[in-house]
Assembly symmetry: C2
Homo-oligomer: 329 residues x 2
C-alpha cells in the first residue's frame, strides 16, 4: 500500500508484553471483520506460543528453515503443507469444525494430499483401478439424506492407491489418472464400481514432514482405506474415507483419520451378488450406506457451535457468510 | 520410523474436543523433553486457533496455498518466511525473549532477512558502502560492558542499504558484497567506519507477504536504519539497529523494530572531528555507545523469566541447556 493512503496506528518500543496488542491493532485497519478476527487470533496464538515456550532464536531459525523446506518440497503433485497439517491433527479438526454432523449422518475424514481434479467420469459398474496385482473388490454403496430419502445424481469422487500403496500421481512416468474416478449416484441413490482391496501405505516421508515424524518417534503409516468425496447442490460437501477393520494401523493412523463409524468389513460375494454384478463368486465386497447432511442442517449446526465458541472467548458474535466475527456494536 | 520400533498410543474417533490431547500424546514419545514441550504448545495453539476462529475448509486451503507460496518465494537471497515472521511481530518478540536486557544495556531489534555471511572483514576507518549517490556518514561508536569497561576485539557485523534503499543481495547482477562489513572493536572499545546516511525502504513486497500487507491495509516501509550485530565470547549475542530520529516511518515500522533507546540524531562534524577522522567538515556523524550484556547476566535473566512463564502455565520447570521444560518428577 502507498503509505500516504493508510493510517497506521503509531507504535514503537515493542516489548514482550505489549507487542501482541500492537500487532493486532496494526492488523485491524482492513474493512474485513473476518480477516481482522482471524489475524487477531493467529497473532495472539503465535505470540503466546513463543512466550510460553520461551522460544530461542536458534529454534526460531530452525522453524524458519523447516517451513522453507516444507514449501520448497511442494510441487504440482506433492503438497507437503497438507501433510504437515495432517500429521498435526489440524486437517481432521478443520473438517470437523466446517462440516458438523448431526447424529446418524456419515462422519468426515481427512482429504489428504492426493485428491486431484483429473479423475475420469465413469458409469456405475466400471473399474476404477487397472492394477493387475490388486485383489479385486466390488464396492456397493447407497446415498441417503437424513430423512432416509435416496440422493440421486450426487457427484462421487473416489480415489485409492494401487496394490503397492502408491497413488497415480506418485509415479513420475504415469500415463494418466488411475485408481480414481468420478461417478454419479443413480435414481435409487445407489452407486457401484470395481476397485482393488485397499492396502496400508506410509504417507510420503522423504521430506521435512517425514523427518519430523522420525524425530517424534512416530511412524508414517495410514491404515488401508478408500477415499470418497460427495457433492450435490443443497447438501453439505462431504469428504470422508472408509477403513478396513482390523488393519494393523487402525489405531495409529499417522493423520488421525479413522472413526469407528467408517470401519468396514469385507465379505465374499455370494452367487446371487456375483451374478448380478458380473464378478466371480467369492470376490470381496465392500458395502456402505452413506448419509448426507443438507446445507441447512450443516449451516444451523455450524452457526450454533460458532456462537458457543465465541461466547467462550467472551465475545458477542455476528455470523457473516456462515463464519463468525465479533459483534462490536 | 519402522512401525515395529515405535509404540504409538492407540487412538481413533478423533473429535473437535479430543484431538488435541491425542495429538499431544502421540507427539510425546521422543525422549527429548524440550521437543515434547514445544510440540505440545504448538499443537495446542494451532488447534485453539482453529477452534476459536471456526476456521473453514476454504480458509484452511487458502492458508496452505499461502504458506506454499511463501516457501516457494524463498531462495539463496530471499527469505520470505523471515519477512512473514517480521511483519507479524514474531521476530522482535523472539529476540526479546532470547536476549533479555538488564537496564542500561543496548536493546535488541529485528535481524531482518538481509544479513549475510559474506561481508568483508575491514579495518576501522574504512568505507562500508561504495554508493556514490549516498550522503557520506561518519560512524563513531564504542562498546562497553554493564560495568562500563571497554569491550575489545568484539566482532561487529554492520549492514545497510544503498541510497536507493536496496541491499546488495537484492541486485541479481551484483559483483560482490557492498554496504556490509565486519569490524573488530579496538583496545578502548571503540570502532568506526565510513558509511552513507540510511534511507527508508519498503521490505520486499512483490511476494505473498506483500500481498498480505496490502490486504491488511499496511504499508511495507521501514524507517531509515543501520543494522549492527555483536559477537564476543562471554557476551550475549546482540542483534540490533540504530534508527534516525524523525523518520516518517518512525512509529509505523512494518516490522516493529524501533525503540526509543535506538534512535539517533546525526550532527555535522566539527573541524576537530573532521581532521581526526579524515572527512570533510560538516560531514554527518552518527555516534553511539553500545552496552553489551555478559552471558551470565543474560542467562540468569532468561532463566528467571522462563520460570515465571511456566509457572503462569501452572507447570513446574527444569532448565535444560538454557531452555525450560516441564518438570514431571
Ligand atoms: Fe489416502
Ligand atoms: Fe534493514
Amino acid at each position: 500500500m502507498d503509505p500516504s493512503k493508510v493510517n497506521v496506528p503509531p507504535a514503537m518500543n515493542m516489548t514482550i508484553d505489549n507487542i501482541t496488542q500492537n500487532t493486532v491493532l496494526i492488523n485491524s485497519q482492513a474493512q474485513d471483520p473476518r480477516l481482522t478476527f482471524v489475524l487477531e487470533r493467529l497473532v495472539s496464538h503465535v505470540h503466546d506460543f513463543a512466550r510460553e515456550t520461551r522460544l530461542s532464536s536458534k529454534e526460531w531459525m530452525a522453524s524458519i528453515q523447516f517451513l522453507t523446506e516444507v514449501g520448497q518440497m511442494c510441487s504440482d503433485v506433492r503438497q507437503e503443507f497438507i501433510l504437515l497439517s495432517d500429521i498435526l491433527g489440524l486437517s481432521l479438526l478443520v473438517d470437523s469444525i466446517d462440516h458438523p454432523k448431526p447424529p446418524h449422518s456419515t462422519e468426515g475424514s481427512v482429504l489428504g494430499p492426493f485428491h486431484t481434479h483429473e479423475a475420469e467420469h465413469k458409469e456405475n459398474g466400471e473399474a476404477i483401478s487397472h492394477d493387475k496385482n490388486g485383489e479385486p473388490l466390488l464396492v456397493l454403496c447407497t446415498i441417503k439424506d437424513s430423512n432416509g430419502k435416496p440422493v440421486e445424481g450426487a457427484k462421487v469422487d473416489i480415489w485409492e492407491t494401487d496394490s503397492s500403496g502408491h497413488y497415480d500421481v506418485q509415479y513420475a512416468d504415469r500415463d494418466g489418472p488411475d485408481g480414481r474416478v468420478v461417478i454419479k449416484s443413480k435414481e435409487d441413490g445407489s452407486f457401484w464400481f470395481k476397485a482393488i482391496k485397499p492396502v496400508p501405505y506410509p504417507i510420503p516421508h522423504d521430506g521435512p514432514v517425514g523427518k519430523l515424524l522420525q524425530k517424534l518417534h512416530r511412524h508414517a503409516f495410514r491404515p488401508s482405506h478408500m477415499h470418497f468425496m460427495f457433492e450435490k447442490p443443497g447438501y453439505d460437501h462431504l469428504i470422508t474415507a472408509l477403513y478396513l477393520r482390523g488393519d494393523p494401523y487402525e489405531t495409529s493412523d499417522a493423520v488421525f483419520g479413522v472413526k469407528e463409524s467408517l470401519l468396514v468389513d469385507l465379505e465374499p460375494a455370494d452367487d446371487a451378488t456375483a451374478t448380478q454384478y458380473h464378478v466371480k463368486p467369492g470376490t470381496l465386497v465392500l458395502k456402505y450406506d452413506f448419509v448426507l447432511v443438507s446445507d441447512k442442517e450443516a449451516d444451523d449446526l455450524r452457526d450454533e457451535k460458532s456462537r458457543q465458541a465465541l461466547a467462550a472467548l467472551g465475545r458477542r458474535v455476528k455470523i457473516i457468510d456462515g463464519l463468525p466475527v465479533p459483534d462490536v456494536d
